[in-house]
């Protein structure tokens, strides 16, 4: 691994990284600002939601909607935050080595006395650091925000859901990294990894409705990350282990894939 590559990746993208952080904070602030109104109409709201078909409630994992964790879990962590972390992960993963190849800078980079593996791993580490940073910002933002709008939220549960969601982004980011290492095309890596993420999300959200989809859940990264409702139930050890294993295996495959590559001129 090469610290210079990690630092340079972070430095050259600090604008987009800050934009993601600001975006996360803005969405959290917006959701939290609306919570008091939701709470005020809690009785109505719960009644209203009780009228939803079971299927719909199951799809959006609406447990105890008017409670603080229930509200955040539904509005923030069922779709919004996972998709944002996936967007960050796939953007970074796809531009890792494939971005260098697309820009034509791969020629110089890979003719230097550094191994291909260390380039891939350094880029992977940069991606993980960015996801971690945005995750910390999100957790800090929500936890600071709850002070203003009286939400009962266990800090440990909040951290658990942020870590799990950021790692979900890392899984699909690693898919993009692998595809980029295999084919050297950024748009292809981005397109396929995003499509896979959306497919996984659909399979996850439809699973409560379609029986045979339920059988696929144990293989779905969304299930590993959010299936256990960490905002209610805290850290989900096995889920996190599956996520971490997926990241390790995918990055390992990316290292193997790039060794065999012929870089097109």
């Amino acid at each position: 691994m090469h610290s210079a590559i990690i630092l340079e990746s972070l430095r050259s993208h600090w604008r987009s990284v800050s934009a993601w952080c600001v975006g996360m904070l803005a969405i959290s602030a917006m959701l939290l600002a609306m919570y008091p109104s939701v709470q005020d109409s809690a009785a109505n709201m719960d009644q209203f939601i009780a009228q939803f078909p079971d299927a719909l409630r199951a799809m959006f994992r609406m447990t105890d909607y008017s409670s603080g964790p229930g509200y955040l879990s539904t509005e923030m962590f069922s779709a919004m935050a996972p998709l944002m972390f996936i967007a960050i992960g796939t953007a970074w993963g796809s531009s890792a080595t494939a971005g260098e190849e697309d820009k034509g800078t791969a020629d110089l980079l890979f003719s230097l006395p550094i191994s291909r593996a260390s380039v891939v791993l350094s880029k992977a580490v940069a991606m993980l650091l960015v996801l971690a940073l945005v995750g910390v910002v999100l957790a800090a933002g929500i936890s600071a925000g709850t002070a203003f709008v009286s939400i009962e939220l266990q800090l440990s549960n909040l951290m658990a859901v942020c870590v799990a969601t950021a790692m979900l982004g890392a899984v699909f980011g690693s898919v993009a990294l692998l595809l980029g290492a295999m084919f050297g095309k950024r748009s292809l890596a981005l397109g396929i990894s995003v499509a896979l993420a959306i497919a996984s999300y659909l399979l996850f959200s439809l699973a409560p409705l379609v029986e045979w989809l339920g059988n696929l859940l144990p293989y779905n990264p969304f299930e590993w990350a959010t299936g256990s409702q960490p905002l209610f139930n805290g850290w989900d050890g096995p889920g996190l282990i599956w996520l971490a294993l997926a990241v390790i295996v995918l990055c390992g495959a990316a290292v193997a894939a790039i060794q065999r590559r012929d870089f097109a001129s």
Partner: protein, 308 residues
């Protein structure tokens, strides 16, 4: 100088590479010794860049072996590239960086301190390294490409179309820089379309055509194989008939007391016979490398097309 005895800086032995839709190279062999410059010539798509990319380990040879300083590329790990400088033919830099930040970044990845040499080269090529690369002209970007190839004082340099975009003054500066590093024992592989540049810098020339090595020899040897014009002046009229039989003569015609002929190869016999006829003076034009190159590649192409 070449301390590891006779081990060449760069050596290709029967290297074949097929890949994708692009034409590769077939059984190409050449070497570059320390302190020597090899010019790599050939029409577009002849495989020059493929050969260069195989040496750098950017693509892997299908068969044959590539060695740098006697070590097989790909087996010794990336450390092998530490003493190699590379200027790509299609140069892409990190546009958002300043020239200096870019050079420092590469130096850090090479784990070398190149500050002194960077300053020296920047002065020499008259470039402002504090500007963002994005804002630089093509020629100035090329200068940064040149600096990054030379800044770590490599033992072997691989230069692909190095002077494209440089103005004539900078081209001259570049030529003297290559001369200096060559004199200090650096091996230089120079791929270029600028014949005069190859003629000035190269000791030997390798010509690739359709992925095969046509020829690899010194510039003098190459010239001798090119068609040259010879004008022989005699005190009296001489019949061209007498010269027709000589193998070196391709074409001959008389203009009064002057015979003008096209010759190829060894011209000793022509001159001997001319002296017997009382030769008064000789005028000859040294064939340019370009003529020699064109003669070789033209000769070859009909041959290639009939084989298909």
């Amino acid at each position: 100088m070449g301390s590891p005895g006779a081990v060449p800086a760069i050596e290709l032995a029967d290297v074949t590479k097929f890949y994708g839709r692009s034409r590769g190279i077939e059984e190409v062999s050449f070497d570059v010794a320390y302190g020597q410059t090899l010019g790599l010539l050939g029409p577009n798509g002849a495989g020059k860049t493929t050969a260069i990319r195989v040496i750098l380990g950017l693509i892997r040879a299908t068969s044959g072996s590539v060695t740098i300083a006697g070590q097989v590329v790909g087996s010794g790990g990336p450390a092998l590239q530490a003493d190699v400088g590379y200027l790509p033919g299609t140069l892409a830099l990190y546009e958002h960086m300043t020239g200096l930040a870019f050079l420092h970044y590469l130096a850090r990845l090479r784990q070398r301190d190149c500050q002194v040499r960077i300053n020296e080269l920047a002065d020499r090529f008259d470039i402002d390294l504090s500007r963002r690369i994005h804002d630089l002209s093509r020629g100035n970007k090329q200068k940064i490409g040149v600096i990054q190839a030379f800044m770590h004082s490599p033992r072997a340099l691989i230069l692909d179309e190095p002077t494209s975009g440089l103005d004539p003054i900078m081209q001259h500066e570049f030529e003297s820089l290559v001369g200096e590093v060559k004199a200090s024992g650096c091996a230089v592989l120079l791929s270029s379309h600028v014949m005069s540049e190859v003629e000035t810098l190269a000791d030997r020339v390798a010509i690739l055509d359709h992925g095969r090595l046509v020829i690899c020899q010194t510039i003098q040897e190459m010239r001798s194989k090119a068609v040259r014009r010879l004008e022989l002046e005699f005190p009296q009229e001489v019949s061209p008939q007498d010269f027709h039989a000589l193998p070196a003569i391709l074409h001959i015609e008389a203009h009064g007391s002057i015979l003008s002929c096209q010759v190829v190869g060894d011209e000793t016999e022509v001159l001997r016979l001319a002296v017997e006829h009382g030769l008064r003076s000789v005028r000859t034009e040294e064939p340019s490398l370009e003529e020699a190159f064109l003669a070789l590649v033209d000769d070859r192409n009909p041959d290639v097309s009939t084989r298909r």
